[in-house]
């Protein structure tokens, strides 16, 4: 049985195709101004990778902030639900799941059976999401993928305003003027973000295993800062940015399975 999950994020659309709960293909595209078109591109690319046709897919579940705009989806699942589902596949003992995307961050609390008990969302404030790192990388004139490794070279962090991207940018500029080292500024950026994300997650209570998902989970600088902040070893799966789409595809499989029973 073939199912698909599609995660329409604010920056990228991710698609995952499963055959009997095993990953056949995963592809992404940039959301741009037309998320429906981006969704088509992502699913078509994944189908091509899998060597399949659209008609081969039994059920598609959409998730992400643009889930309502996916033209071909049979159903939707909340981002929290998709996160919980995906995290359990990689780490069966996952109890706290943190997902940091381009423009949003959230934390999900699960019981021992993997059922979501509670969640908290940092909505539409760039200071607690990937957009913060992007803006700061621009201010530092460092490529976004170099930010993480750069921050690991610092033993201490500079001081910056962490509550707002706009104010943080001005702070980074004045730190550069004061000739503070780029690694220390980069580390300060990650510490600031880890501060925000951990205080958000603390509202739910932190229970191991703690799993980190979303595009920002690929950033070694952020993962290191969050490890320090939470004093636990945060678990990160391979391709954490595809977790939402994978969760949606798993939900799709269970919905089809449920119908057949």
């Amino acid at each position: 049985m073939i199912t698909a999950g599609i995660d329409l994020g604010t920056q990228r659309v991710k698609a995952v195709i499963l055959k009997d709960r095993t990953i056949l293909a995963f592809r992404q595209s940039f959301s741009g101004f037309d998320p429906a078109k981006a969704a088509e591109q992502a699913i078509n690319a994944a189908l091509k990778q899998a060597g399949l046709q659209r008609s081969d897919i039994a059920y598609v579940v959409a998730t992400g902030s643009g889930m309502e705009t996916a033209p071909f989806a049979n159903g939707t699942i909340s981002m929290m639900g998709a996160d919980a589902k995906a995290a359990r596949i990689f780490f069966p003992k996952a109890r706290t799941i943190i997902d940091v995307g381009a423009e949003e961050a959230r934390a999900v609390k699960c019981d021992e059976r993997g059922v979501m008990i509670d969640f908290v969302v940092n909505e539409r404030c760039a200071a607690g999401a990937g957009a913060f790192i992007e803006a700061m990388a621009r201010a530092l004139e460092v490529k976004i993928e170099e930010m993480g490794p750069l921050s690991l070279k610092a033993a201490r962090a500079s001081q910056i305003n962490a509550s707002c991207v706009i104010f943080g940018e001005s702070d980074v500029v004045s730190l550069i003027h004061r000739q503070e080292s780029k690694p220390e500024i980069a580390r300060a950026i990650y510490e600031a973000m880890a501060d925000r994300i951990s205080s958000m997650a603390h509202r739910l209570g932190i229970n191991p295993d703690v799993v980190l998902l979303g595009g920002v989970a690929k950033d070694v600088g952020f993962v290191a800062a969050l490890n320090r902040k939470l004093s636990v070893n945060v678990l990160v799966p391979n391709y954490p940015d595809f977790a939402g789409a994978l969760g949606a595809a798993l939900i799709a499989a269970s919905r089809v399975g449920g119908e057949r029973k």
Binding site: F33, E103, R124, C125, A126, A127, A131, F132, A135, S163, C164, V165, I166, F167, S170, V173, S174, H177
Partner: protein
Amino acid sequence: MTEQCTPKSVVEFWRWSEYHRILKDKKWTSKDLITAGVDVGSVGSKAAVMVNGEAYSWAVARTGSNSPDSARKVLDCALKDTGLVVSDLKYVVGTGYGRVNVPMANKAITEIACHGKGANYIWGPSVHTVLDVGGQDIKAIRIDETGRVISFLMNDKCAAGTGRGMEVFADLLKIPIEQIGEISLKVNEEPPPVSCTCVAFAKTEALGLLRKGWSKEKVLAAYTRAMAIRMANLINRVGLQKELVITGGQSKNIGVVSRIETALGVKCLPIPDWRENGLDPMVAGALGAALFAKALYEKAQEN
């Protein structure tokens, strides 16, 4: 008298005019008590000079990366063409975000106290609530008839609605910042406020709205309204007591002011004609600081 203290550069839409002014028909003699207030804000620096506790001259300039230099520059600007030099000032009070870095100041006082005092000086004793919209924060301040602070609330965590946020918008929509307020009012019908006010996301959100066919005016109206609602909420939380006035750079943004009035259902006291011979509400903090300077000097003389 109005003129540029620094040369105007290429088109930068966020850039508001720096200027200095000496009030007409005001004079000083060597017998007068001359004091000054220097308000080094996160975005703008303001200096006011008072003769016997009456406003005499002032200047408004952008804050640079170095607070002491910004303080010196704006005070020099306020003293320009007055015949006064810094050593003629009997007492100087520093205030604002960079108040501890005002080198010529005898004392530093918080901008909350100074804005309360300055608003009382500009508008008189009927003022009981002051909204100060600065470059990086928004403060709602309750004051008594003498301008003394009773309570205040501050939002310094988020750029939405601050002067800095407006500057980003001016650049984004390529509209000179001093025209933003009027342009935001050029809509036939007030659009619903945007749900997300985060300035960092404004770029993509506003472009998305423009692509949907919204006019620049409509986009600005939706953002300005959302920001005004945030400010009105802050005022409601501190407790609105009439009369209400707005100080800081945003007091000149008619789009923000009129929408705050709508959200609260009250009118603000009108701002003086600062382009002519009236006091500039952006200088309220510096005026308040200069008044504190006078009081502190007189107290020191008594002892």
